[in-house]
């Protein structure tokens, strides 16, 4: 039926070439540390009825620094000019976590910081063999001091592998 097997040989050569590119360790395509995504918002105007119109706002060069369960400051992250969102990841060792936000680290004014406190539950999840295990979080409540933050609200309590969803909105009552 098949008069020659040239096709077979060519096909196998192509397959072996592809197979030779196989990696030795499975690559992990996703983050294994889940972060709370904090969006920064502000009242930009009032409508004709006097209701606030909320819009995105940006910080100059914000920095966010975490505090571990023993109260020690841990490594912080500085963000570039015009950042609208900040990331704060949570400790799976305890059920609450504090992050201190400085809105402007360039023209830094001492004392212009606020502390955001997250209360949450954590759950261990198997992601994949490539990525191993990770903790997912369910936010219970969030509170903030009021130096430049007016209020903080949870809008999506599930902190997991979805990196496109904002979890917490903070409302800035004025630019510091």
């Amino acid at each position: 039926m098949i008069n020659n097997y040239r096709q077979l040989v060519v096909f196998l050569f192509v397959v072996f070439c592809f197979a030779a590119c196989t990696q030795e360790r499975l690559p992990c395509p996703q983050p294994t540390i889940m972060s709370v995504i904090i969006g920064c918002h502000q009242v930009i105007a009032l409508d004709t009825l006097g209701n606030p119109i909320i819009g995105d706002t940006t910080f100059s060069n914000p920095e966010i620094v975490g505090q571990d369960s023993a109260g020690f400051w841990v490594t912080g992250t500085k963000y570039p000019l015009g950042s609208k969102q900040l990331l704060a990841h949570l400790s799976p060792i305890v059920d609450s976590c504090k992050w201190v936000v400085s809105p402007d680290t360039v023209s830094y004014v001492a004392g212009i910081t606020d502390t955001i406190t997250f209360h949450y539950q954590h759950q261990l999840n198997f992601l994949s063999n490539a990525c191993g295990y990770a903790y997912f979080y369910n936010l219970q409540s969030v509170s903030a001091t009021h130096t430049f933050i007016d209020s903080a609200t949870i809008i999506n309590a599930s902190v997991n592998t979805n990196i496109n969803t904002e979890h917490v909105k903070i409302y800035i009552h004025k630019h510091p």
């Binding site: 196989t22 369960s69 799976p92 198997f126 994949s128 295990y133």
Partner: protein, 230 residues
């Protein structure tokens, strides 16, 4: 080309006879010529999985196949093998071993050119089962900010079931010695059993943390043939 003309003409003739048989209430029967191709049992080993074993250091897999010609270009197929996975990453350590078997059929897509023509391009179906033993696993969630956390997941015994759609070809290189490939699309039937730390590799199936996978085999096989007793 002549072959296709011949097949087409024969098909038309057979259809015509069939219609004739329907219109004429007299007992006109057209019997299909009886096959006289004999028996064939083909036993083979897969060369592709050992090749992959040498490239990918966390997995092993070895596969064998046997098929028996039934009739009307249909072959009964039985396949089996063994293998496992050995994961030794900085965040996950465990190993798993498994045996598996698959049963199903292959259907040759083209008619024979002559009775001893056993070359074929085929499609087929399989049902597969794997019996997996996974060791206890040690995991570490690496967190450079708040500190890493380690733990253990208990050992488990898992049975996996899946269906396959296959396609491929096989040619006779020299008398009785054949080579061919099979491409497989596999669909797992019991995903829930693999929710808690699915093995990285299940011999016979593929990646344990995927619900559907593609796979490939390259077989070298030997055909044993004998004639029907008349």
């Amino acid at each position: 080309m002549l072959r296709y003309i011949y097949i087409s003409t024969l098909s038309l003739l057979l259809c015509s006879f069939h219609l004739l048989a329907q219109t004429d209430t007299g007992a006109v029967e057209v019997k299909k010529p009886k096959e006289n191709v004999g028996h064939q049992l083909c036993i083979g080993v897969d060369l592709f999985q050992p090749f992959m074993n040498s490239l990918v250091n966390y997995r092993t897999g070895y596969e064998m196949t046997a098929d028996y010609y039934f009739k009307n270009d249909i072959y009964f197929v039985a396949e089996g093998g063994f293998g496992g996975a050995d994961i030794n990453y900085n965040n996950l350590v465990y190993n798993s071993t498994n045996n598996f078997f698959r049963v199903g059929i292959n259907k040759s897509l083209f008619a024979r050119m002559k009775p001893d023509d056993w070359d074929m391009a085929f499609i087929g179906l399989r049902y597969g089962m794997a019996f997996i033993q996974r060791s206890a696993a040690t995991y570490t969630v690496i967190d450079t900010t708040f500190g890493s956390i380690s733990g253990t997941v208990p050992a488990a015994t898992i049975t996996g079931y899946w269906m396959e759609i296959t396609g491929g070809m096989r040619v006779e290189l020299v008398k009785g010695l054949c080579a061919g490939y099979t491409i497989r699309g596999k669909f797992r039937l019991n995903d829930n059993a693999f929710k808690e730390l699915a093995p990285a590799y299940v011999a016979g199936y593929g990646r344990g943390d995927k619900n559907s996978v593609f796979d490939f085999n390259l077989y070298i096989s030997y055909a044993i043939r004998w004639r029907k007793q008349h």
